[in-house]
Symmetry: C2
Subunit: 336 residues, 2 copies
DNA sequence: GGGAGAACTGGAAGCGCTCCCAAACGCGTG
DNA sequence: CACGCGTTTGGGAGCGCTTCCAGTTCTCCC
């Protein structure tokens, strides 16, 4: 039951010990000017002697700044966050926040309750900034956040409008890369399994696919829409096979879906990449372990998180950063 | 540049509009007793009319409660959090915190800076509670947290001491299950690739392996220690093969390592499960996509998060919950 | 109808910090 | 030596909320 409870050390005690006024002590702590060298040192000594640490709530109350930013995932599916993608985003964000005094609070605005909470947070500016990853189209939160007056940077772009500040991966470019690769290896009847069409990533990847085929003068009609999930990929591949039995390649908008599709192909007796070539997207761990390993498009997820955090810091500091689109690149493996 | 800035609505304004004193208004908000029905309703009306939301900092300052709990990952490796494992933990935690007014703040105590920060947080009790996942043996933070007087629940157990409150998966039981399964399928020269021996999970899984073989009267000497990573698994499997060429099964303490080991076996021309059977641990997505898919031990990761959060809430409420060990179970796939 | 006790009310004192502002101080100059 | 200017200093008023406490109003019963 040992317990370091002890009452908190306050600024007043520090001031007293250094025999200065509270104001002076405060100025030293925020290293503001107008303090003589002697007193500055006296205060610093008192601080270390007493082990003083400022009380965040009090400071927040006085300055009207919270000392925390939030990362919010807005989605209708409570499980999206279980995607390793977010874990990496968080690592990126943390790595830059670590250099500051800001805390990272996590909100999953996945239920109505969560949405309300986030909304309230913005309305009452109980956060210094927001990083928002909005995972579906008609998300009212996205608009609301953009206009709340709180610094907001988007991770990925909502489809409904173009936010002022965002960082996104070059989904369209990546998809084009992948599809061009398929074309370059001699495929001509190239299908696609898309992600959700109410997410900008899904849309952009679909566009990239279309562009690449248009340039090559190939048919873009072999399309089935799915939802990024493995099961979705499975279903879509069945449908594709039934509708376009002649296809010789598939660009799949996520590795999870590709894993599902791959199983369907194998079960159907198609050889990969012999009869059908397959490209995924994201380059998650799974992509390396399928049989054959997946050729896929890799995006710099940690950088994405890092840049979001940097952009937010800039915003908070009063700058006006420009949106950022991070490059994606093709990772060749054995499925093509 | 639209901006909902507006000054914040304060309790005083609510009180005035409801023509009561601030005290009464405050009592209504915290639904404390000693308020007449009429005034209670008047206040509530004023609150909704004005769209009042209490200021968290002010409340925190007055009550000495922060309204936030932190999840900290203490490790010497900044990348551990990229493990999907944590993403799921977070989902579990969020799902129960969502029912409360508490926020979840995330800290990666991975650098010295992060450690200090966490320490300071505890020392000055700027959090209402802590969930700590300590990922290595000699972590001074674990001890410090345990004695800080702040409610702390551990996720997994440190090896150095038994904390008062923790929730852990039954690693030993799971390992025993896995090994017994190998025995039951007729294997007799069963090796193991362990995790880190300075993590309790690694240790417990090793113990489970030993127990099962001891009961079966089999040899427990075919052991190589590794570090949970895929590369580690690769190296370990090479060593195992060189040292004990006669082995007919391997219990591998993580799926990542198992994936690495599997590749080595296949490359060495060993058939799986024909010549060598393989069992992993964790049941991550990868396990389903290897070739053959991995038999593995599944732990209820989201529940783990959920129970950690529940336990912490109980602790904060002043209860004394009992530690929890969650069951693990064997998932049979084609690698055995 | 009077009185005791319970229920309600609002004033005021904080919680620990920031920051404005008036007062005090030091110093160079005429 | 007095004066003026630029620095440094500390008093004090908040930031918005909770909570103690003393005073007031209601109830209910004899």
């Amino acid at each position: 039951m040992s317990d370091l409870r002890k009452r908190q050390v306050t600024l007043d005690e520090v001031a007293e010990r250094a025999s200065v006024s509270r104001s002076v002590a405060s100025r030293v702590l925020n290293n503001a000017p107008h303090v003589s060298k002697a007193k500055r040192e006296a205060v610093q000594r008192a601080v270390t002697d007493l082990g003083y640490v400022p009380n965040a709530s009090a400071r927040a109350l006085a300055t009207q700044q919270v000392g925390a930013v939030v990362l919010a995932i807005s989605s209708d599916n409570p499980l999206v966050f279980a995607d390793p993608f977010f874990a990496e985003i968080v690592v990126g964000i943390s790595s830059v926040l670590e250099e500051t005094e800001l805390e990272l609070v996590l909100m999953m605005a996945t239920s109505a309750r969560g949405q309300t909470r986030l909304e309230r947070l913005l309305r009452t500016r109980q956060t210094d900034g927001l990083m928002l990853m909005s995972m579906h189209d008609d998300d009212p939160l996205a608009q609301f956040a953009e206009q709340s007056g709180v610094p907001v940077v988007f991770g990925g772009r909502p489809v409904a409008f173009e936010p002022r500040y965002y960082v996104d991966a070059d989904n369209r470019g990546g998809a084009r890369l992948a599809t061009e690769h398929l074309v370059a290896t001699g495929r001509t009847r190239i299908a696609t399994i898309t992600g959700r069409m109410d997410e900008s990533a899904g849309l952009a990847r679909y566009k990239g696919y279309q562009e690449a085929l248009a340039v090559a003068g190939l048919d873009t009609s072999r399309v089935v829409h799915a939802d990024f999930s493995e099961d979705g990929g499975t279903r879509a591949m069945h449908e594709l096979l039934a509708t376009y039995p002649d296809l010789d390649a598939v660009f799949v908008a996520s590795d999870q879906m590709a894993a599902g599709a791959l199983r369907v192909l194998t079960d159907a007796g198609k050889t990969v990449p012999g009869e059908v070539a397959l490209v995924g997207f994201n380059d998650v761990a799974t992509a390396r372990h399928t049989n054959p390993p997946l050729t896929t498009v890799s995006q710099p997820i940690q950088s994405l998180g890092r840049e979001m955090a940097r952009m937010l810091l800039a915003l908070i500091a009063g700058d006006a950063p420009t949106p950022l689109i991070l490059p994606t690149r093709l990772v060749r493996r054995a499925s093509t």
